[in-house]
């Protein structure tokens, strides 16, 4: 057993306390029969876990969990219950036997494995000693981005991130295919009348939206220095537009940012990302090898002081590569989040209209 540095104990206690909260929330989600309550509890669950992630030094993940788990997921879930209604009925205990057995099996296996896992925080565990440590040592030299998570995400495992962007793109396509077309998804719902009375809301929204967009850009470009990056920025950017839709009505937003355009932007984002990869290839490197993003002859012309590090003019390609692909991620994520929002919100308007008509 390793010697425990004193600071761990504080962290440990906070972590355990947060985990207990998570357990309580999860238990409440299992028990509740109200869907709305379940969704709110899920949102809380995400937020608490984001806090826990900060305690665990996973700032980037915490940020993402907060904007995606507590933000986007909650919005989508709320949209979904608006469109489906219905409450959960309590199933008889017989219906719970098989699920309980399945879960007990999985849980038993997990706990069996947990006994063999290294202690929390063990710096010598295989997980922390092998590749993870190698990144910490190599990334500052090879990539140059201070945020190692970004360096790994965008460069070492840039291909994973390309796949992930493709997943998001696929989700956008999926939601569009389900909800984005057809008679139920009229692209131009009637102008909302509710917002007209709320002058304060409108004015403050007009003020806030550019600020949110600006913050998104900050998160975007600050990604290789601190927590943040294309995903978080994309979601925040989408949030700005969603706010617009909430305050000024979906119709106005759809006029300003048409769904078709949004879907195209999602595709363009992935295209940009993959294009960077192909560009590297055309210049003689491997796919996504940003060192070859620019032709060597071109790169030689760049003065080393431009990046403040005469030794590593080399990083120029890595910097711009990461910047470009993060831009691709931003475009795809923002556009997809909007597509999803449009899909659910467009249906919502339709559903409400039907409800009133009926």
């Amino acid at each position: 057993m390793i010697a425990l540095p004193s600071s761990l104990n504080a962290n440990l206690v906070i972590g355990i306390a947060l985990l207990v909260m998570l357990l309580v929330v999860a238990g409440a989600i299992v028990r509740t029969r109200s869907l709305l309550a379940a969704i709110i509890l899920f949102s809380i669950y995400s937020l608490v876990s984001a806090v826990w992630l900060v305690v665990m030094d996973a700032a980037d993940v915490a940020f993402t969990e907060a904007v995606i788990g507590a933000g986007v997921s909650t919005i989508v879930l709320l949209g979904a219950i608006l469109l489906t209604r219905g409450e959960v009925e309590k199933p008889g205990w017989r219906a719970l036997v098989a699920p309980a057995l399945v879960c007990a099996g999985v849980g038993g296996l997990l706990i069996y494995a947990a006994a063999g896992l290294p202690a929390l925080g063990d710096p010598a565990s295989p997980a922390n000693a092998h590749v993870g440590r190698a990144y910490l040592e190599a990334a500052p030299k090879e990539i140059g981005a201070p945020n190692i998570v970004t360096a790994v995400l965008a460069s070492y495992r840039g291909f994973d991130t390309l796949g992930e962007t493709a997943v998001i793109f696929a989700a956008g396509i999926g939601v569009a295919l389900m909800l984005g077309f057809g008679p139920h998804a009229s692209p131009l719902p009637p102008a909302a009348t509710i917002g007209d009375h709320h002058v304060v809301l409108r004015v403050s929204a007009k003020f806030l939206i550019p600020l949110i967009a600006l913050f998104a850009l900050y998160v975007q470009f600050h990604g290789d220095l601190g927590a943040g990056g294309g995903f978080q920025a994309g979601v925040i950017m989408a949030a700005a537009i969603i706010l617009h839709a909430l305050v000024f009505g979906l119709r106005d937003t759809m006029m300003a940012v048409p769904p078709r355009l949004v879907r195209s932007i999602a595709a363009l984002g992935v295209l940009l990302y993959a294009g960077v990869g192909v560009a590297c290839m055309l210049n003689g490197g491997a796919f996504l090898d940003y060192d070859y993003l620019f032709p060597p002859a071109f790169e030689k012309q760049v003065p080393g002081w431009l990046l403040g590090d005469p030794e590593h003019a080399h990083h120029w390609g890595q910097h711009f590569g990461i910047l470009l692909i993060e831009l691709g991620v931003l475009l795809t994520v923002a556009a997809t989040m909007l597509t999803i929002f449009y899909g659910f919100a467009g249906r919502t308007v339709e559903a409400i209209r039907q409800e009133r008509g009926a």
């Binding site: 460069s155 793109f169 595709a267």
Partner: protein, 507 residues
């Protein structure tokens, strides 16, 4: 005789990048398809993208045959830090299979999609299809365990939505797709948990590195649990009995484009990944691996082969018959692999290819008939052979192959499976194969009897022969079923190379 080595050789510069181009090609094509203005252009892009991938797969296969396994370091980072592609004989075989299935499906979709999905959605449908294809191709070429998960999801998310749009014909597509999504996601998540445990035990995600490090570790609860989670997770994705619940619905109600593609590739790629883990990543020393094969994998596979064949016999809807048959055939493929000999693995892989070919033929032929015939049940297809003789003939070729009639690829596949089982001294596996073949004959007989020998009831809607664009790929595939039945040297070499790659050290 077609020699494996003489397969296409591309320019060296292209061959060097072929592994990643094979994945990036369809991915880029997906974006372009989504951006394209009309349904027709998106179809052309889809065909082009798939063909490009197939071209690259062919180049890789040739390269692997000439020089052995291909490595490709993405981003220029050597593993275990970077993500590396690793394509050996097995990966090349799978890549060729997936990409050729993609070409066939995309050509076929030109006419079939119009009957099944509104034209405004076509650009997105083609985009999702291409993403699905890119995902599967990435899955079979990556050498990184976590990267495999990402590509599994790239392919799955597209597939879920594509199955769901089958609702235009049959609203039951929606719950089926939802079920597919839930099961698929549970499977993928279990896989991730398993990878997490392996990572905890070894600190790496690269499969080759994992294998090397696992060999130095003893059995630990973490490794065992990791193995269990990976196998169960992939088992769900591979529709391994009894985790196959999602498959019949998804295959029955989805639109033809995705169903033919999934039927030919989706479960197969998961089987591929599972085989990778069982035979490559977990070293032979891990005793529980052997026990697992002997006491869990083989019995379950045998049960699937028997039970699901029986279920198929009692189904009434033609696509459900084919779907249950798929689960049964997955069992046979796994039986071959579970022999854990070169002969067994190569028989299993041979069967895998044969099954992809015949199921694709069958689903395509049924899809072609369904364009004009709003029918689902077997009885509705009574006497179709008279109205649509070409489609019916193609169906018959696929069905005979499925039943293992001599002179078809299916027969050779069964032959090889039997041979491998007997060679390994596993009489009970040979017996299972024989009995499953007999059961297959029952439901194939039912289908052929309805289509060829029964006459349509008076007043029933009549089928019209499928359009040429649909018929051409179907007939090509039907012809291949027969051609390979007479000269199976090509699939045999692919399977042989795959098996050798899979069981590098085994007898």
């Amino acid at each position: 005789m077609i020699s494996f080595e003489t397969l296409y050789a591309a320019a060296p510069a292209l061959t060097a990048h072929a592994p990643v181009l094979m994945v990036a090609g369809p991915l880029i094509a997906a974006c372009v398809a989504a951006l394209s203005p009309t349904a027709r252009t998106s179809w052309m892009i889809s065909v082009t993208g798939s063909m490009f991938a197939a071209w690259m797969a062919l180049a890789i296969t040739g390269e692997v045959a000439r020089h052995g396994a291909v490595d490709y370091y993405i981003g220029g980072f050597a593993p275990p830090l970077g993500i590396a592609f690793y394509i050996d004989g097995l990966g090349a075989m799978m890549a060729l299979l997936v990409s050729s299935a993609g070409v066939m499906a995309s050509i076929y979709s030109g006419h079939s999609l119009a009957a099944e999905v509104r034209a405004e959605k076509h650009t997105h449908v083609q985009a999702a299809f291409l993403l699905c294809q890119a995902g599967l191709l990435g899955l079979v070429s990556t050498g990184d365990a976590f990267n495999a998960f990402v590509f599994l999801e790239v392919s799955s998310i597209g597939a879920y939505a594509l199955v769901a749009i089958g609702e235009k014909r049959d609203r039951r597509a929606l719950p089926a797709a939802f079920n597919y999504l839930i099961m698929g996601t549970i499977g993928a998540t279990l896989y991730v948990i398993g990878i997490g445990f392996l990572y905890a035990a070894t600190g790496t995600l690269n499969m080759a590195d994992l294998s090397a490090r696992l060999a130095t570790l003893g059995d630990s609860s973490v490794v065992q649990a990791g193995f269990a989670f990976i196998v169960v997770g992939l088992g769900i994705k591979a529709a391994m009995f009894p985790l196959h619940g999602w498959l019949p619905g998804a295959y029955s109600f989805g639109p033809s484009l995705i169903v033919i593609f999934l039927a030919a590739t989706a479960t197969k790629t998961s089987i591929y990944l599972m085989a990778r883990f069982i035979f490559d990543v977990f070293p032979d020393g891990a005793a529980f691996g052997r026990n697992f094969i002997a006491w869990v994998l083989a019995p379950l596979a045998a049960t699937a082969a028997i039970v699901c064949s029986i279920q198929a016999t009692f189904e009434r809807e033609i696509r459900r018959i084919l779907a249950f048959s798929s689960v049964a055939q997955v069992g046979l493929i796994l039986l071959g692999l579970s022999l854990a000999t070169i002969l067994g693995a190569s028989a299993g892989l041979f069967y895998l290819m044969a099954h992809a070919l015949m199921k694709m033929t069958l689903f395509m032929a049924v899809g072609g008939l369904a364009i004009s015939l709003p029918a689902r049940r077997l009885d509705d297809f009574a006497g179709v052979a008279r109205d649509a003789p070409w489609s019916a003939t193609a169906f018959a070729a696929g069905a005979l192959s499925l039943a293992g009639a001599p002179l078809t690829l299916g027969f050779l596949a069964k032959w090889r499976l039997l041979e491998a089982a007997l060679n390994a001294g596993q009489i009970w596996i040979a017996a299972t194969v024989a009995i499953a073949s007999l059961l297959t004959l029952l439901y194939v007989g039912r289908m052929l009897e309805a289509i060829f020998f029964r006459s349509a009831p008076a007043g029933a809607p009549r089928a019209v022969e499928a359009p040429v664009g649909v018929l051409a790929p179907v007939l090509v595939l039907a012809g291949l079923n027969i051609w390979f039945g007479l000269d199976a040297s090509l699939p045999e070499q692919l399977a042989g190379a795959g098996a050798k790659a899979l069981l590098a050290g085994a007898p």
